[in-house]
């Protein structure tokens, strides 16, 4: 089985938010909510400040607390690449998953279910990249199968220094940031 993930090059990212806007239109995300977002982290004293700019979203964790805590099984790992999804009509909106997610990736959709990034699984099934990846003007985002050593994402991780978010949370996130 494939393990879908993203590799995002923070060196190239300019934080323009095109990924966010593209997700909104592609997935008809209601105004006021977002499935992805930009973080800019500044460390150090001016002018020797180091800044990391990165596009964040659900990490589609292999050890996903949101899946483990879901009382109805609405939150689950898809057989298709291990993508973490929410089955809308099985979701009771209890918000346990929101509490359990260390990345703040989930929100209550106005229609009552929990919503978040789906890796644009509808596009991936058609052989396309997720919307955010496909629009990025800097080409800083890459999507693919992390279990395939020959995939672009795997090769980037072999070649470049990288980190993931909150590895100490033990969630085995599947989004990696090149530095």
């Amino acid at each position: 089985m494939a393990r879908f993930g993203m590799v995002i090059d923070t060196v190239k990212c300019v934080g323009c938010t095109d990924c966010v806007v593209a997700c909104e239109t592609e997935n008809n995300v209601p105004v006021g909510f977002a499935r992805d977002w930009i973080e800019q982290i500044a460390i150090g004293k001016f002018p020797d400040t180091h800044v990391e700019i990165r596009s964040e979203r659900c990490n589609h964790c292999s050890e996903a607390p949101c899946v483990n805590c879901c009382p109805t099984g609405a939150s689950h790992h898809s057989e298709f690449g291990g993508v973490v999804l929410v089955t809308h009509n099985e979701c009771i909106g209890c918000k346990a998953c929101i509490e359990s997610c260390p990345y703040g990736a989930r929100f209550v959709h106005p229609e009552g279910y929990i919503d978040k990034c789906t890796f644009c699984i509808h596009r991936v099934k058609e052989g396309k990249d997720p919307a955010c990846v496909s629009v990025c003007p800097t080409h800083c985002m890459h999507f693919g199968d992390l279990d395939d050593p020959n995939s672009e994402v795997s090769k980037l991780l072999q070649k470049r220094k990288h980190h993931s978010l909150l590895p100490e949370a033990g969630t085995s996130p599947n989004i990696f940031y090149l530095t």
Binding site: T17, D18, A22, T25, V135, C136, T138
Partner: protein, 736 residues
């Protein structure tokens, strides 16, 4: 002195002059899905993909709009487009929100109460045109046709430009020059006999060393530039950023030089001196192509790194090291000429220094430097000649500013309106530019408006200037209309089309239709000789061997490739008096200006005040996009960037709200503090375009602060009339 190189001017006048027509009936303008549904009685199912070029900023990338079941769904880049290469920026992607913006102007409006009160009577299009025409006829009779002025930004303004030239005025100006790139292009025109243009001729993609002076590429989201910059970063190009604020670009730099604001010219002249005195410049290139090297050498010898240190705050060793770094990559080094360059009033001279350093490193006509550009030549529609105005333009009497002026002098036109000299200006047309947020000193603009007998504003949203209008004409957004063909100077010549994707939701109309209708009311219909816009576009395209049917399908048609640089066989010619790149400017000497730039010191902020700097955010364009709900969703207010130490001293934390008060006591709206290690201690920074105070802009009303409100002071560039706006100082007001 030609203000635009003759070669380029001839091509532009042949290629892109304006024009247009309209359907005679008000209905049936747009063949969108809804119209089709009405006709057939069937719901449109499935997905249509319609190519069109973007208008969210003025870069004009080509896009493909997706219409799902008759409704606009999403917009992506057109892969055939040499500007976007198939990938748009957030504004282009968010163009969907322009169509659905609930705050849009919906119907023609005529003012009911005092100007600025935003009280209106909704009228029919015919009533609006009748009203405008009767006022225009009276102005013509009482003052002459030159007494109407036109402020325009964007390609759609061309239709009104055509109409107003036919009416008999040439008082036409655009803030894109005097409030933006004018100093830069004037400087390059003086030095090279040609402009940098837009899209810029910078070959960032192939540059091995890129120097940015305040250019915040990545925040300034001009698509091609950002894409090429990202490629350069990936390639490991050496990037040097000179900026008082650690911009996004600066975070990618090998060398970040946190320069004291207003001293860029000192650093440039010092670098020039180092390149010359240490024999690091491109000697063959300088010998072959430039004029005035010895004079330059003598003039800059006093600008040593030790002299520059207390002026700029950059240590001598770092100045030397970065000069050596630039020299190391000759001939593939590029000192970016910038774009928005109206900073301190001596901006053309700073532009000259940028032009000169690029000559020393031999970048013009070099791979990784400043490339050759050409245009897809499409003949203009054969119009009758315009009437010759009896009076010269009012915006620059007696050629007070000897240079520039290619796009008119905005503040000159405002001045003429205020003073009635050299003759009264009694009517303004304003297309697509929110003058109260684009011209410095809003009070002067409002006073000038009080002298008008007619103010017509054509826009898609109720901008602040619309609030002062006598008549507001609501335009269909770019996704709902045809527009002029787009064929810019670029390294890959091309032509692209804007065509309707969906219907306007209310009674909005395309600009070309309005101009055509108005021409009939004014008895100027001979200047709009075709039946409709399709016929006009097709006529122009056919005269270039293309057709409307073809371009409607493809969106973009490319012209032949051209040699871009010396390496590819391009041989540059310089249309200056000496035929060379003028390091020493003969035209500046002739007009009594410094033929080689000299450093001028600018006033420092008084104690307790900070220089107000402003710039852009990647998801917004000027003050045009804040009500777009998709873009509001990613940035709904601006923040004032304050150095963390300064913020601490004032007891301010990120997220606190304050007001800014400028040197003249003008107070901003409340604005959120961003306490940050990314800016110097002597300046603060806000993103331009926020702080709306038009109540009709419900989605943006009082969100953030407006730099325009605080820019009461400006310094005019004596060479070309640009308005230097980085000369205002602000302090913090804790009471909000």
């Amino acid at each position: 002195m030609t203000y635009l190189s003759r070669r380029r001017f001839l091509k532009i006048s042949g290629a892109s002059i304006i024009a247009t027509a309209a359907l005679s009936s008000a209905g049936g303008v747009v063949k969108g899905a809804k119209k089709l549904e009405e006709k057939t009685g069937k719901k449109i199912k499935g997905i249509q993909k319609i190519p069109t070029y973007c208008s969210m900023c003025f870069w004009k990338c080509s896009a493909i709009a997706y219409v799902k079941n008759g409704e606009l769904w999403k917009i992506v880049g057109n892969p055939e487009d040499p500007l976007s290469n198939g990938r748009l920026c957030p504004r282009g992607t968010g163009g969907v929100g322009a169509h659905y913006d609930p705050d849009r102007l919906k119907a023609p409006l005529i003012r009911k109460n005092e100007r600025g009160e935003e009280k209106w009577v909704q009228v029919t299009w015919d009533e609006a045109f009748e009203y405008i025409a009767s006022k225009m006829n009276k102005i013509k009779k009482d003052y002459g046709p030159e007494s109407i002025g036109f402020f325009s930004h964007g390609i759609g303004g061309g239709f009104f430009k055509h109409l107003l030239k036919a009416y008999g005025t040439r008082n036409i100006a655009a803030p894109s020059f005097d409030q933006c790139l004018g100093p830069r292009d004037t400087a390059f025109e003086i030095t090279y006999g040609d402009v940098i243009g837009g899209p810029e001729r910078t070959d960032i993609e192939n540059a091995k060393c890129i120097v940015l002076f305040g250019s915040h590429i990545g925040e300034n989201m001009h698509n091609t530039q950002v894409q090429e910059f990202a490629k350069a970063v990936e390639r490991g190009a050496s990037i040097i950023v000179v900026d008082p604020r650690m911009s996004t670009a600066a975070t990618k730099a090998k060398y970040y030089l946190p320069i004291k604001p207003g001293t860029d010219l000192a650093l440039l002249l010092t670098w020039i001196n180092i390149l010359i005195s240490e024999d690091l410049y491109d000697k063959d290139y300088v010998k072959k192509y430039t004029f005035g090297f010895e004079q330059l050498k003598a003039e800059v010898s006093k600008y040593t790194p030790e002299w520059a240190y207390p002026v700029t705050g950059i240590e001598p060793e770092l100045i030397r090291k970065t000069a050596h770094e630039i020299a190391r990559f000759i001939p593939s080094a590029l000192v970016h000429p910038g774009r928005h360059s109206v900073w301190y009033g001596d901006d053309t001279q700073r532009g000259r220094a940028l032009a000169i350093i690029n000559a020393l490193i031999g970048s013009w006509g070099r791979k990784g430097g400043l490339t050759n550009q050409d245009v897809f030549d499409i003949p203009s529609y054969p119009y009758p000649p315009y009437p010759e105005p009896k009076r010269q333009r009012a915006d620059n009497p007696d050629k007070k500013y000897p240079f520039g002026g290619a796009e008119g002098y905005t503040t000159g036109l405002r001045e003429a309106t205020l003073t009635g000299k050299p003759y009264p200006i009694k009517g303004w047309f304003v297309y697509g530019t929110n003058l109260l947020y684009s011209l410095p000193n809003t009070e002067e603009t409002i006073k000038a408006i009080q002298n008008l007998d007619l103010l017509v504003v054509i826009d898609v949203i109720p901008s602040e200037i619309a609030g002062y209008a006598d008549v507001v004409l609501p335009e269909a957004v770019y996704l709902e209309r045809y527009d002029e063909l787009f064929a810019p100077y670029f390294k890959q010549p091309f032509v692209s089309i804007r065509q309707p994707v969906v219907d306007p939701p209310n009674d909005q109309k395309p600009g070309w239709w309005m101009a055509k209708q108005l021409s009939e009311k004014l008895g100027l219909q001979k200047y709009f000789p075709w039946k409709n816009i399709e016929e006009y576009l097709d006529t122009r395209l056919k005269s270039a061997g293309l057709s409307l049917a073809e371009i409607k399908k493809k969106g973009v048609i490319k012209g032949p490739e051209i040699p871009l640089n010396l390496e590819e066989g391009f041989e540059p010619e310089f249309e200056t008096p000496t035929g060379k790149i003028e390091l020493y400017s003969t035209v500046l000497a002739e007009k009594g200006f410094d033929p080689i730039p000299k450093f001028t010191k600018h006033k420092d902020p008084p104690a307790g005040y900070f220089r107000l700097l402003f710039g852009r955010a990647p998801m917004h364009s000027f003050s045009r996009t804040q009500t777009n709900r998709l873009l509001d969703n990613v940035m709904n207010e601006n923040e004032v960037w304050i150095n963390a130490d300064v913020a601490k001293k004032y007891g301010l934390n990120s997220g606190d709200y304050i007001k800014l008060k400028n040197q003249d006591g003008v107070l901003s709206n409340k604005v959120k503090v961003k306490s940050t290690e990314r800016i110097r201690t002597d300046c603060v920074y806000i993103v331009h375009g926020f702080g709306h105070n038009s109540r009709m802009l419900k989605g943006a009303y009082l969100k953030g602060a407006s730099d325009s409100q605080l820019i009461t002071k400006y310094k005019i560039d004596p060479l070309m009339g640009g308005t230097g706006m980085n000369v205002n100082f602000v302090t913090f007001e804790m009471e909000v």
